[in-house]
């Protein structure tokens, strides 16, 4: 289909302006053919660029990598800052969790409306509910930049399309938003504790059911990340294969929480072993493990990019 | 450059306008100065005139006249369909009053 002149035009596009990116799905076929079409009369500089483009194809889906030796370093340094925020985010998270009187131990769904109202009216509880939920609010959103780093790593994987990174990005938007809805309902319940107990109970129910049962994006995020890891066919994959297995296990651990509204007592109830403890431990473990994995991946990426820049300078 | 003027277009417009004027007469004839009453006759006439107008627009303005037979059949088929649907739903509604 492509004859020679067509190819040359395409190369011109690759070499020309970097922002006019070769697009996500760089024509792997084109690059393959370029590689075998060694007799092509292209200058040294252009060959280098084609090499760059080739790396780009193998390494990821966008041109940010490999083509221009100066930009990647600056970009990764920013990533380190984002990753460096993680301990603070974790601190906010742990303190919110420990401060909220409804988590230690988790409130029972069996509480009557008056008991729920009393819980919010209790002068010992009320400030702790408010402060912890304000912290929790920050935590939800602070998670987004760190989750986005995972998306960026998915883009580096040897995929032919950016679909998986787009899909995970969609999940990144959805998951924390659902936490925010739960958070708002808790804060609403605490805002005027002298409201009718029925109303306080309804906001409490809305908050707990949203918090507990809203796992769809978390499950999808883990499953998609696992798929991305499995599909990353290259000699040195971005994430090791066990990261995929681990994510599937986390996704499975989140399943039971979706059924929390079916029970008032037992492991499925929102204070139960499956819906509360298993789910939240799984999320905590996921955050800890993924940030460690992410740190390793980013450090390796930096090293590779530095090496690559060095090679380019030598050439 | 002098464009050839298609004589059919002004005629089509004239026919459409005259058909529109018919509505003034139908409206007057339906109940004059008296209070409005449901009238299947006026309704049917209004719908049929409207469908004739739509067909003129299809054939002349939208050039279905020169289009492949499939498009002619599709547009005419829709006209039959909407005619049946409109009269049918009106009569059905009137019957279920």
């Amino acid at each position: 289909m492509h004859d020679r002149p067509q190819l040359t035009i395409d190369i011109g596009l690759v070499c020309g302006s970097h922002q006019r990116s070769v697009d996500d799905a760089v024509d792997r076929r084109l690059v393959d053919r370029l590689a075998c079409d060694g007799a092509m009369s292209v200058g040294r500089r252009q060959v280098t660029t084609i090499e760059g483009a080739r790396m780009h194809v193998v390494g990821g889906n966008e041109t940010q990598r490999g083509v221009d030796p100066t930009t990647p370093r600056r970009r990764v340094d920013g990533e380190v800052i984002l990753l460096g925020a993680l301990p603070f985010v974790a601190l906010i998270w742990v303190s919110a969790f420990l401060l909220f009187p409804g988590f230690t131990p988790p409130m029972s769904p069996m509480m009557t409306a008056d008991q729920v109202a009393e819980f919010y009216r209790d002068p010992d509880n009320l400030p702790r509910i408010r402060y912890s939920m304000i912290l929790f609010n920050w935590f939800c959103v602070a998670l987004i930049p760190i989750l986005t780093l995972i998306v960026v790593q998915i883009r580096r994987m040897a995929h032919r399309t950016p679909i998986l990174s787009y899909a995970v990005l969609g999940c990144v938007a959805g998951g924390p938003t659902l936490f925010l809805i739960a958070n708002v309902c808790w804060l609403l319940a605490a805002y005027r504790p002298d409201r009718a107990p029925e109303l306080t109970q309804m906001f409490n129910d809305l908050a707990w059911i949203t918090f507990t049962s809203q796992v769809p994006f978390l499950i999808a995020q883990s499953v998609l990340l696992a798929l991305a890891v499995y599909f990353d066919d290259q000699v040195r994959p971005v994430f090791a294969r066990w990261v995929g297995h681990f994510n599937l296990a986390v996704a499975a651990a989140l399943f039971p929480a979706a059924f929390t509204a079916l029970a008032f007592e037992g492991p499925l109830a929102w204070d139960g072993a499956l819906s509360f403890w298993l789910k939240n431990v799984a999320i905590a473990l996921w955050i800890v493990v993924m940030s460690a994995v992410l740190g390793v991946a980013i450090r390796r990426q930096r090293a590779e990019d530095r090496q690559h820049a060095g090679e380019q300078a030598l050439a | 450059m002098n464009t050839i003027i298609n004589k059919r277009l002004p005629i089509a417009w004239l026919v459409l306008t005259l058909l529109t004027m018919c509505y003034l007469w139908i409206d007057h004839a339906a109940d004059g100065d008296a209070a409005r009453q449901p009238s299947a006759l006026a309704t049917t006439a209004a719908i049929i005139i409207a469908l004739v107008k739509v067909r003129v627009i299809f054939r002349e303005f939208m050039e279905v006249r020169h289009a492949p037979a499939l498009l002619c059949h599709l547009t005419d088929g829709w006209l039959l369909l909407i005619g049946a649907a409109l009269l049918g739903s009106y009569l059905l509604g009137a019957a279920m009053r």
Partner: protein
């Protein structure tokens, strides 16, 4: 010139993109649904409709129909002029179409203001629910039609573009706005 035109006439071609005709027919089916629901309800409960319908002014409706028919005529002439290669005239006709469209819109909007001031607002009674719904959704089509006309005029402006197919596609859309109004007019103003 005549020869070219005649040969074009004899091979039967769909005016504009066939895709636009798919839109026209699909949209026509949706409106068939709206109209049927409306006619069924008004035939079933004439008392909720007829007294309020009496406050519509048929003469304004007729005037509006004629204005829209004029606009349809002029876009048809625009297509003819473009086909004959007279692009200046075609632009003029497209502009004239837009002008008639604006006149229609102004009359329509003043009608809305008038009826609302009379106490027949969007939610006042069932007849005016339908009246505002049908004229409103039609007016939305008209507003989209202005975008379409802008595309047509843009096409006509530069010799580099001038895709006859796009011009005909735009004209087909505009005629759709016209024939939908012909039906809406009959169903709202005249039907008993």
């Amino acid at each position: 010139m005549t020869q070219i035109k005649d040969s074009a006439r004899h091979t039967r071609v769909v005016p504009g993109q066939p895709d636009m005709w798919a839109f026209v027919l699909f949209e026509a089916l949706i409106f068939t649904g709206y109209f049927s629901v409306y006619l069924f309800n008004r035939a079933q409960r004439p008392d909720d409709f007829l007294p309020y319908q009496a406050s519509l002014d048929l003469r304004i409706g007729v005037l509006n129909t004629v204005v829209l028919l004029l606009s349809s005529w002029s876009i048809a002439r625009c297509v003819e002029a473009a086909r004959a290669g007279d692009y200046r005239k075609a632009s003029l006709k497209a502009g004239l179409t837009a002008l008639f469209g604006v006149v229609f819109f102004v009359i329509k909007a003043s009608e809305w203001v008038h009826y609302t001031a009379q106490g027949n607002g969007v939610t006042s009674n069932e007849f005016f629910n339908y009246y505002f719904f049908l004229t409103g959704i039609h007016c939305l089509h008209l507003l989209i039609g202005f975008v379409v006309l802008a595309v047509v005029i843009y096409q006509l402006r530069s010799p580099l573009r001038r895709s006859q197919q796009l011009i005909e596609t735009g004209a087909t859309y505009w005629h759709t706005v016209d024939f939908l109004w012909v039906l809406i007019f009959a169903l709202l103003y005249v039907v008993r």
